[in-house]
Symmetry: C2
Subunit: 347 residues, 2 copies
DNA sequence: TTGAAAGCGCTAACAA
DNA sequence: TTGTTAGCGCTTTCAA
């Protein structure tokens, strides 16, 4: 036997079997075992079979650290995990992470989470990249003016952004995003098809490019259908009571019969106002949210909402990442995916 | 200079600086640099200072793979990331992961996510442990009869469970959990203090030990206050419409003035029934949920809910993990933490 | 307090 | 098709 005792059927040995153990037991060289694992095509079928059987007998699994050291890779994708925003319905991040973990697994990667330090958006990234702890990053919070993206680009650290470099003309990195305007277009057209003509918009403040994008979808669809928009739009903070207040004002001043909102959080505010005014969502006034959060799903009447294809986003990101890491030429700088509309009783 | 060119102010070099580069530049041996990083006390102050400065100049950060190989550790904690249950309000997992990432960071660990394969609860664990890709696991879904816990125990893989080994008398592993009964006790007492005497329970099916635990808190508090419970309890699936139906039946048959629910999902069902019957939550009928989900937070009237101290759970788990990994004797087999009650308008 | 030697387990490069 | 050699960058052990 090798230097460590690998009795079959025993507990996990003190130290797991190594390549050398397998090689000795199978009567081949270490390199051959390595090839059996990584380049099976190079082996003669019977040798391969013998080595594979020995691997199975010993329960051998290549040591990650050794492989990482040798290949200068880690098979790890770093993701900065920002805290959930309590008091909002926003949970895009969480659904996305799930999708990313799945998509990464299929490509042979695992996802490494590290915390956000609000004071220093670079911290965390810095350490992981310089210690070669991860092969690449997925950057999600690009709306903050992209300090990470800029920094990572300069460090030549491989990464893909979930989100467009909105205002950053010099950004040259690869990104995947969801077409928010297309989402609100879907929502608005859906309401028009339902017979609504006075459709209000409640969105975020002007400094949010994502918010402006979503707003544009509503605006263009209204105009394309020859419908008025004057006095029908509102910009507020992304909190429930702001949505409620905006809805109250709009109802009083402009008598909309439907609302398209930049988030489920704002839509909940609208629903609150309707509830207070004894207006039935879906019957008296239609409401559409954005993100298809759990809140939209479990709210009693069910909130119609734009759903981001986060599974597809994750798959696309991993695909791009692989290309990046294998130094293939990445054909497109950015990929824009179409959201869908989940229709429920509120519309 | 070393074998790689580390011009100051240059881009990230092709290969990052190594210990040897720092040693050469600082005029000391590699071991001394290693000590400067890991055992600074061993160095003479002026040597330490010189080495540290060189480290800073070069932007040196120890290579993870090399360190991992040498020390047979990875500083990684594995967590099986189960998909969000759409259509429910359950988001405990997500809040917990955030807390775990934070707590792990402080202890020098990162969190490695791997996906759940429903067919085989062991898959994923197996590979990671035998390739020494992670130092330990955090196991969350212990209610499934603990196949992972049993398996991991047998493999002598270090892990801490979030959740008690309810029905498993032979389980010998370490765990951290939240006292669900204490939570529903808080909720029930809160309602009693508000003057309610007919307080109903809507919980899960009997085969859920977590559900039975939460139910016990309601039951004992009712009894302790000499209040009736007959005809006031219901066991259903954890979906909104089941909660709604149960509430309707209970209201018709037993006229409760308040509901304690095993989940926010069920509480949403109750709110739905109240809405249909034009009963005002909090004024006509009180409702308390469990988990303090985003749904509870953004629902227009605000849902009173039991909140699990997930931050504390994470800290406790990491603490235990560290003890486990440093082969200290872990003093207690299990730790039970107290939840709190977040009071909103629904009660 | 500092340095030298050895080796963790693997794979790239090359030789047979 | 298989084997040999070397070395990835670090820390443990031991010597100075």
């Amino acid at each position: 036997m090798g230097r460590s005792d690998h009795r079959l059927g025993s507990q996990l040995p003190v130290t797991p079997p190594t390549l050398a153990d397998v090689a000795e037991r199978a009567g081949v060289s270490r390199q051959t075992v390595s090839n059996a694992v990584n380049n099976p095509d190079l082996l003669r079928p019977d040798t391969l079979e013998r080595v594979r059987q020995t691997i199975a007998e010993l329960g051998y699994s290549p040591n990650r650290a050794a492989r990482n050291l040798r290949t200068r890779t880690s098979s790890l994708i770093g993701l900065r995990f920002t805290p959930v925003q309590e008091g909002t319905a926003n949970a895009t991040m969480d659904r996305f992470v799930h999708s990313l973990v799945e998509a990464s697994e299929e490509a042979g990667y695992h996802v490494l989470l590290f915390p956000a330090d609000d004071d220093d958006p670079i911290s965390g990234y810095d350490n992981l990249i310089s210690s070669t702890a991860v092969d690449a990053f997925v950057v999600t919070d690009t709306y903050l003016g992209n300090p990470q993206a800029t920094w990572l680009s300069r460090q030549r650290a491989p990464f893909v952004a979930f989100g467009r470099p909105w205002d950053d003309d010099v950004a040259r990195h690869v990104w995947v995003d969801v077409d928010g305007a297309a989402g609100t277009r879907l929502a608005t057209q859906h309401l028009i098809d339902r017979g609504h003509t006075r459709i209000a918009w409640i969105g975020w403040r002007k400094d949010s490019p994502i918010g402006e994008d979503r707003r544009a979808g509503w605006l263009s669809t209204m105009h394309a259908n020859g419908l008025p928009t004057t006095g029908l739009a509102s910009r507020v903070e992304d909190v429930v009571h702001s949505g409620a207040e905006a809805a109250a004002v709009l109802l009083d001043e402009s008598r909309p019969t439907a609302f398209v909102c930049a988030s489920d959080t704002l839509a909940m505010g609208v629903l609150h106002t309707l509830w207070i005014r004894q207006l039935a969502p879906g019957r008296d006034v239609a409401v559409v949210g954005f993100d298809d959060s759990q809140v939209a799903q479990v709210y009693p009447v069910g909130l119609t909402s734009v759903r981001q294809p986060l599974e597809d986003v994750a798959v696309e990101i991993v695909r791009t990442l692989r290309a990046l890491l294998s130094h293939q030429q990445v054909e497109t700088r950015g990929v824009l995916l179409e959201p869908t509309l989940t229709i429920r009783q509120s519309s």
